[in-house]
Amino acid sequence: MTGGERRSTLAVESVTMRFGGLRALHEVDLQLHAGEILGLIGPNGSGKTTLVNVITGILAPTEGRVIVNGTVISGRPPHRVARAGVARTFQSVRLFTTLSVRENIELAAVSAGLGRRAARSSADDLMERFGIRHLAEAASGSLAYGQERIVEIARALATGCSFLLLDEPAAGLNDQESEALLERLKGIPDEFDCGMLIIDHDMDLIMRLCHRLHVLNQGQTIASGTADQIRRNPVVIEAYLGSQGAAEAAAAPTTDEEV
């Protein structure tokens, strides 16, 4: 990544999010650039999902703002944030269960402005890319969990997004499935010319996948830097990685969120 070129950037600027008395995010700053993979980690309840919800317009931040390529998008409704090039997946998978897998992905492309025919072939390409072509006609409500996760990622990419936010895509997958997922995720930023933010508790996956990491604890940024820097950071070890190691964090049950 050379510094000279102008890359598209998503910037979170001192965002604070309060739910009544609870402060879920406190003055968080974060930047995501096209072409990079940024890992967002932290204990359960540290505000990771809330941050994604603020970026995608499901929540309006109490303070601060979110900026995409110089345009403020915080305060916009979610569908307009999506049209600004921000796509996401959800911590609890959200497919259109009565539509087929192809229709799920095709619809995303249509919503991004493609014609029906072009959307269909784009959906076919994406299904090929993610190895789910054989599921095209299947009702998406009938898939195995791991397949649902993949379909949801393919659907988000079909919007032609500049920024892709993945909320715990490896949660609930077995080791083999996680490994396969890692292979499929690696090339996304280059191939689709987008920036990718990924939340997960699987430290092995995160460390191997991400160029940079950002660590939240109780709504505050406690560290950010390369995988190596984070692994050795005493504050992060204390708050998240802990003495028992990351394996436990990966195994910890994740609270099911509202959105």
């Binding site: 259109f96 087929s100 619809l107 249509v110 009702a139 988000a156 083999q176 499935e177």
Partner: protein, 355 residues
Amino acid sequence: MNHLHGIVRSNRSMLLFLGLFALIAVATQLSGVPLMQRIVTVMMINLILVLGLQVFMGNSGFLSFVHIGFMGIGAYTSALLAMPVRAKSAALPTLYPFLADIQLPFLPAVLLAALVAALVAAIFGYPLMRLSESAAAIASFAMLVIIHVVLSQWSAVTNGPRTLFGVLRYTDLMTAAMWALVIIAVAYLFKRSTLGLKLRASRDNIHAAYSLGINVVVVRWIAFVISAAICGLAGALWAHFITSFAPGAFYLAQTFVVLTMLIVGGPRTVSGAVVGVLAVTAVHEGLRHVENTLNTSGSLPFQVVGLTEVLLAAALIVMLAVRPGGLIQSGEAGSPKARTVPPQQSAHVAAEEAS
């Protein structure tokens, strides 16, 4: 030839029901039995109403009680536009001059009726589309009440709660059947259209729909307006079949019949809506016949009144308890089934992908 084959294949369900209803219409016409012709004509009009409702309810997942109000708006609009000037001045002496002095032919009157119903839906429906499912259902009921009150109190235009006489009879069995066939096709095409797909997606998962850039409120609103136009059209056809009616015709009793048809049949599918109309009409007419026979035979020491309604209501409750999705819940009748992935195969595929 291949091309034609493809069209037939992907529209099997639609073609099936188009054929069936064309057949019913022709057979009834040839039978020459006036009672049958009457029943089937009303059934065709009910079919249009139910399909109008299905376009909105089935695809959006929202419940609506207001659509019979749009039927009423369509009925009065078309009646007023197509009535002969002299009959109008007799029935409605205080009617506004710009309405009193015109008489349109059948087709423009019917189309304008649909348009007026659509306009009312567009203006007053928008706020409803922003509400949650349950709030929108209640609000739609409130809207039905408002339309009913306006129709029964706007004496200059509707003759108040009294019956309006003198509407010309234009609708016959074949007219009703032809429109029913058109609307069957419209309902199938809408469901498959981009708009229909977006609406069904928002029904399945609203947050996911938003996250793809779909403006759910607007999509819902457009569907609401289209479905109101269809119900307005049905009202116009009905007005020119019955020829005299009062605002009470567009209220709870009719709402109940139409909702029962849709819910029993299965609101999510067009074929469900169609089958619901057939089933409820058959049961309804059958029960009415039984009721009449019982009452005239004198075999019971009392008169049975309302048996038909009570049994239909009971059938609706049983249906909701036993098969809440209706007779045809997901796949359209007659079309190739969507594949479901058996769990073993999924596990196998996952393992294959990992290796």
